[in-house]
Symmetry: C2
Subunit: 514 residues, 2 copies
């Protein structure tokens, strides 16, 4: 772990100095204590999407903050869901509309695992793992250290971009620097629950969104090395549960051992046919629909910092799956993962029985080109080819007596496809260019993250608009876990970055009606 | 199930009428109500081996009952264990000493699952599954129906033989029929806990046991068809737990899926190499030490009633393991059973992770000739041959980085070998002959049960004495489960059988000093 942490605290170097960044930096210097105070105010409101009262308190406070900066704000409502926060600010003579996507809800918390209560944001002199100690919030004139950390739920995921945006707006407005786009806001209140209503919002209120040229989706951590990162896609997700049947009831392993079928053995035999030793999926057609990697993407993948050895050392992995490709290349292929296995009991609870069933839960992460249902069809076809009789309910006695190998397949229903935008799409090129003008070659471009993101799918595929994911949080922010935090330097970087995005150059070509 | 039950209530037919059986039958007719009353008295004392107070109350009552019939009784003590009940009765001019092994402890109970409290024995007009209703215990002169069932813990397993023995002794003594052997008793108080101290008793008190010619171990149910059964062996048992390692912690299945090793997949691949589709174990040498089946045994196996189709229909098994051999032939081979499988979670608890470990618990039932440690050596050798690095503790980081496939092996420590006596051993031939004189060709001879029995191992292998297992309980007695019961007809059969065993013909040859 040591080696990794040293890398994580490398500051983001190579920012170009320009008028915008001068403005945001001066603003932070002068108003840093106020920025942190208003961040703490927002963080002190619990924000799980299922907490209907508090999630609206968050929405109200956020709305007021943007209203105070001249935005026209509105809460969008869909029944049974937290409101989505919508906002807009017209910029005179702007030919482009950008929409910032952020989510203001957070993961559930287990306060017993937190060093401080999750909704009592607490400033530390450094990260906990670096022996940071609690310190008071700064007052006017106090020097603010970039290695300080603010602990609390959603410090990084994903309230920081809201505060960064507000501070950048203040900085630019105070320096009388004009925005270069019309600005829209769409703040999701249920991202951590999988954004189940995001398409409802985008379609029910479609008139609000149809003039957007590019979505800037600000969420998640920077690269493992501390470098800023843009990411152009996310994997799809689906899965299925397989149940293999032995006898109708668990049997005494003495009285029937060597006679009754052993479901765990049968399941192991089946699963073993699905992947080879190197992790290559052996299911026919599994890779056939994968959208090929473009030359431009390949070029960008090759520029991604070489972090595989660090990852392996951190995780104790002698040999990753694959043929030596790096992590980000592997993420451009669909995965097949045994997420769960169960039959009888292990450990102290193990009994002398032949269990009557064995269950495996398969997770599949999909890439651009894969259709979830069709991928599950391929898995089922493979299972049949191995001689299994597939059922979709518990087998009855007649079925049991007719087929020696019976498997129940239960498909997951709430998955979805991957989404990915070309790295040189005309709407995102100005985004890349303006960020590079600030970060230099430090910027890491990732064709797709490995995870899945419903909001991204909704924007890129649902309403078919271009968008790109932008991150500001430190990589070691404990996202989703206890003691979530943000490094102040990363929040500060986010403020600069928002300033850069609010003032990025006019598009070279007319973007509308592509 | 229907077809099976019809067979189960076929009475044991073909008993030859002779003086002894006349005596036991007359006794039951006259004293049946008393026999059931004293059975109920014994059943009302809780008898789990860990219940130190109650297990001694059982021992005391049993001791008094035999003392009253002229036996010299003694409680044998080993520290930290329930007492073993020892008894002896000399028979003038007898040239043989038989020892009855019975266990007076019972399985633990979960009273919430019982129709009646497990230690309030309750008589029913028929089996519960045949709509039997509770009836009062009979009084003097009441006719007793053989289809009645007495419900309560240890009615079948294994207090019935104690009551049967007492009643048979009464019947013979009242008819002035002489026993033909010196009688010894060894009643185990911890069989259901695996008889961990049985060898201590047999060796600490060896002078009490050294003159025994044959052990009659009375326990368990009759054959599935209702026919009486003798059984000449039991399988050994051992096992091991295998833990396969992925990364040092569970990983996000999106961020790392297709890169991080999947322990469930690796484990499935390994387990799949251990057995073929027909259940044949593919581990080199696994069958090499199996003691061959003798011609006599083969002949007896062929005479065993053909029950495989019934078993398959009852259990919903289309295709058992093996090549069409019957159950009892399959039990003469060592088994390898996946008793438990675990990795991550399945069902509602399944999460989008790549679990960091996968665990399998293997159970092995051994046959005569197999040494437990050597069989586990073979499994480990097989694992190594598949390219795995075996550890016996959690792997450290250096080990993790050096070996792509790491597996922890934990051997079970409290197993033991099989034990089996030749079916035509001179000490057991008179047992077979006398029982056959009573049951005719109804008697089923089974070379070995599939289960394991420490007491049998201790007698046959520990102190190297001949012994045979005899059963009286109905097959559908719910042994080890809730609502354990005995069919009165089976208890009655047991009384006749004990009478027959107490008066079996003198041995043809001098048995001692073989």
């Amino acid at each position: 772990m040591k080696k990794l942490l040293l890398l994580l605290i490398i500051p983001c170097i190579g920012y170009s100095q320009n008028k915008v960044v001068d403005a945001t930096r001066n603003w932070k210097e002068k108003e840093g204590y106020n920025i942190l105070a208003s961040f703490a105010e927002l963080l002190s409101i619990p924000n799980h999407g299922s907490d209907a009262v508090n999630i609206r308190r968050n929405a109200k406070l956020i709305g007021e903050n943007f209203t105070n900066r001249g935005f026209k704000m509105q809460l969008l409502e869909v029944e049974g869901a937290p409101p989505a926060i919508y906002g807009e600010l017209k910029t005179p003579n702007a030919h482009r509309t950008v929409c910032f996507y952020v989510h203001y809800d957070g993961q559930p918390v287990d306060p017993s695992r937190w060093v401080n209560p999750p909704f009592e944001p607490t400033l530390y002199s450094n990260a906990l793992f670096n022996n940071g100690k609690p310190i008071p919030m700064p007052k006017a004139g106090d020097k603010i250290n970039e290695n300080w950390r603010l602990y609390g739920r959603s410090t990084s995921d994903d309230k920081a971009p809201i505060i960064a945006l507000l501070a950048a707006i203040d900085a630019l407005q105070n320096s009388e620097i004009a925005f270069t786009s019309n600005i829209k806001l769409f703040f999701d209140g249920e991202e951590e629950m999988g954004s189940p209503h995001v398409m409802d919002y985008l379609t029910n209120f479609n008139s609000l969104f149809e003039d957007i040229d590019v979505w800037l989706m600000v969420d998640g951590p920077v690269f493992l090395t501390g470098q800023p990162v843009l990411n152009f896609g996310s994997r799809g997700i689906t899965g299925m549960e397989l149940t293999v049947y032995g006898a109708t009831r668990p049997l005494h392993s003495g009285h029937y051992g060597n006679y009754a079928p052993v479901p765990g053995q049968m399941l192991a035999a089946l699963l073993a046919t699905m992947k080879d030793e190197k992790g290559k999926v052996l299911i026919e057609g599994y890779y056939d629909t994968v959208e090929p990697i473009s030359d431009f993407e390949r070029e960008q993948i090759n520029k991604i910092p070489k972090i595989d050895e660090q990852i392996r050392t951190d995780l104790g992995i002698a040999q990753p799956e694959g043929d030596g490709e790096n992590l980000y290349e592997r993420l451009l292929l669909p995965s097949l993962t045994i997420r769960g296995l169960s039959s009888g009991n292990v450990g102290a609870l193990a009994r002398n029985v032949i269990p009557n069933i064995a269950v495996a839960t398969l997770g599949m992460r999909l890439v651009k080109g894969n259709d979830p249902e069709q991928m599950m069809n391929l898995v089922e076809a493979h299972i049949k080819k191995q001689g299994w009789h597939i059922v979709y309910d518990e087998p009855d006695m007649e079925t049991r007596m007719n087929y020696p190998r019976i498997i129940k397949v239960e498909r997951e229903k709430d998955g979805g496809p991957a989404s990915k935008i070309s790295m040189n799409h005309p709407a995102v090129l100005p985004v890349i260019e303006s960020i590079k003008s600030f970060t230099g070659d430090n910027l890491v471009l990732i064709p797709s993250s490995g995870g899945s993101n419903n909001a991204k799918v909704a924007v890129l595929d649902g309403i078919k608009m271009p968008g790109v994911s932008i991150s500001i949080a430190n990589h070691d922010n404990n996202q989703h876990a206890e003691n979530e935090n943000i490094r102040i330097g990363n929040l500060w970087f986010g403020i600069d970055l928002m300033g850069v995005l609010l003032t990025m150059p006019e598009p070279k070509t007319e973007l509308k009606k592509k």
